[in-house]
């Protein structure tokens, strides 16, 4: 019995150690953003100070609130991109799960291969092709590539197969509902839980993306937060006073996603292999 208790203590200790490792940088940025630029490099790492609001004011004042524009851009890219991608994935997943048609397995295999294509390798040819039609350095250059998610389609197909009974589709058809109406009023609500997961996956992927917007955008008023902070950090190399703005900006930038995580925790029970969501 005491052996078992000892093991359980070790398990708890290991878990807390892992938690401490993961929280350390977050804790640091929380403390560091309260320091003035002089204190950042001189006082003890984990000693808080009193300049948080000054730093926030400085950050907001940087080039007429450019930072907040980056945040708004990021919300736009991630929100619109994930919403469109979820709807498109749901439609494709539904077709692949619930219809028989010539070419079905070919389409599915192509999409599976797409899951394994390393996304950022596409960024440069995507840039060149969009440059040919004059769309680089616009919101569309970042939005359009985020609309397609092979993994989202793969997941949506599994959700549709698991959660939409064929009899209900037949019943809806006998009632005279068209396929699109059936999709909107019957299929989408039934797939809801799974689609939230697809949405969250894509939302986080777009929110965290760096290379695609870094390549596509030249105008810093279109930047998402990742590219903007990278630019600020590069300026810091010449003006160390910028570092407090970078640190405070880093803190503010992670608050929305962390809040989203904590509120939507139950949707993050993801089984990659089976594609299921245990909610």
């Amino acid at each position: 019995m005491s052996l078992k208790k000892g093991r359980s203590k070790t398990a708890t200790a290991l878990l807390l150690l892992g938690a401490a490792y993961c929280l350390l940088p977050v804790l640091w940025v929380l403390i560091a953003s309260s320091k003035s630029s002089g204190e950042l490099f001189s006082t003890f790492t984990l000693a808080p100070s009193t300049h948080l609001f000054d730093n926030l004011a400085d950050l907001s004042g940087y080039r007429d609130g450019l930072y907040w524009r980056w945040m708004a851009n990021t919300a736009l890219y991630a929100g619109v991109g994930a919403a469109a991608s979820t709807l498109i994935s749901a439609m494709a997943g539904f077709a692949l799960a619930k219809f028989d048609f010539p070419g079905k397995s070919a389409v599915f295999n192509v999409i599976l291969a797409g899951v394994l294509v390393p996304g950022v390798l596409l960024a440069i040819p995507q840039y060149l092709l969009l440059a040919k039609v004059g769309m680089t350095n616009t919101y569309w250059a970042v939005l359009l590539p985020s609309f397609i998610s092979p993994y989202g389609i793969y997941l949506a197909r599994i959700f549709a197969a698991a959660s939409v009974p064929t009899e209900i589709l037949e019943a809806s058809r006998i009632d005279g509902a068209g396929d699109w109406r059936t999709f909107g009023t019957v299929v989408l609500p039934m797939m809801r839980t799974g689609l939230v997961t697809v949405f969250l996956f894509q939302f986080v992927a777009v929110w965290n993306n760096f290379m695609l917007p870094y390549i596509m955008l030249g105008d810093d008023r279109l930047y998402p937060i990742t590219v903007g902070l990278n630019g600020l950090l590069n300026q810091g190399a010449n003006q160390p006073a910028m570092y407090t703005a970078v640190v405070t900006g880093a803190l503010v930038s992670i608050i929305p996603l962390i809040a989203l995580f904590l509120t939507l925790q139950r949707y993050w029970q993801v089984d990659l292999a089976a594609g299921g969501v245990k909610a």
Binding site: T12, G18, L96, F101, W180, T226
Partner: protein, 313 residues
């Protein structure tokens, strides 16, 4: 627009042939435009080069011609390429096993603690939290923590009277970047594995315990085999992510002069394309990285017998 509005009420129960294609159309159009076309275009560019005639002045003196495999030869013999491949190989060998090993360990610990919710819940959320932090921000935070003037590690070493190691020195940079990837990726993989474990009814473990199996034996004989498909998937996704590491070293560059512009293969692609304006070399290198990724991930899936990616449910 509702395509079915005008059709007769006595439609046969079978669906009209066009419907699935209509549902698939947006996905397929975007797939072709943003996945297939860029791949084909990159492959095409990788076989082209610019021929300069005369003095290279005037619009007509520069023409694009077929280059055969010249660009590939150039890429493979570029003095910056092989070191970046070697670096990424070592980086992958550090990151993937460490990250998945920790993810599996934490998932098993959480699962063994299933009844003791409070500690488990706190640890689960904390370890998952870095997934909400973009790689750029994560690199930025760790980058500052690596600076000797900021780092608590330096304070720790000085407290016991040892000179602290330079975390962003030539020898340690690779480990510093690897740590950021492990920090950022462990939680997500842990959740994936933990979800697979939760699907197993507790009664299965109870009967194993009654048969006298120890917790470690249960983990090895029952739990790990159950999560093997999840481990395969997380391995493949981690492999793909490793080969395209870009944001972390790009963000650390202003803080560490040990990171060159060709530190990883993808950084070399970026430099060739945008600093040197040599799209052809960039395309050839992209194709090489894509092929390597495909060979590694498909080879691995073949090796394990495609137990992941179930075709039919």
């Amino acid at each position: 627009m509702t395509p079915s509005a005008s059709t007769t009420a006595r439609r046969p129960v079978g669906r009209r042939a066009g419907t699935p294609y209509a549902f698939l159309a947006p996905a397929m159009i975007l797939f072709v435009a943003f996945l297939a076309a860029p791949i084909v275009y990159a492959a095409y560019l990788s076989l082209r080069k610019v021929k300069v005639s005369g003095l290279g002045l005037g619009a007509k003196s520069r023409t694009e011609i077929w280059a055969g495999l010249d660009n590939y030869a150039r890429s493979l013999t570029d003095p910056d390429f092989l070191p970046s491949v070697g670096r990424i190989g070592l980086y992958g060998l550090i990151v993937v096993p460490t990250m998945l090993g920790l993810a599996l360990l934490f998932a098993l610990l959480l699962d063994a603690n299933r009844t003791r919710e409070s500690v488990g819940k706190f640890a689960r959320i904390s370890i998952f939290l870095p997934y909400a932090v973009p790689a750029v921000v994560g690199s930025l935070l760790w980058g500052f923590l690596y600076l000797p003037r900021v780092s608590p590690i330096t304070d720790l070493f000085e407290a016991v009277g040892i000179t602290a190691p330079e975390l962003l020195s030539r020898d340690l940079t690779l480990w510093a970047v690897a740590n950021i990837a492990v920090w950022g990726g462990t939680g997500f993989n842990m959740i994936v594995i933990y979800t697979a474990l939760r699907a197993v009814p507790l009664s299965l473990y109870e009967s194993a315990r009654i048969d006298g199996a120890s917790e470690v034996a249960i983990a090895w004989r029952i739990k790990i085999p159950i999560v093997t498909p999840s481990l395969i998937m997380t391995f493949v996704f981690s492999l793909i992510a490793t080969l395209q590491v870009f944001a972390e070293p790009m963000t650390l560059r202003p803080l560490a002069n040990t990171i060159s512009t060709t530190w990883t293969p993808l950084m070399k692609v970026y430099r060739d394309a945008f600093t040197r304006n040599d799209l052809y070399a960039a395309a050839a290198t992209s194709v090489i990285i894509a092929l390597a990724t495909f060979i590694l991930s498909f080879g691995f899936l073949k090796l394990v017998g495609r137990r992941a990616f179930n075709q039919e449910d």
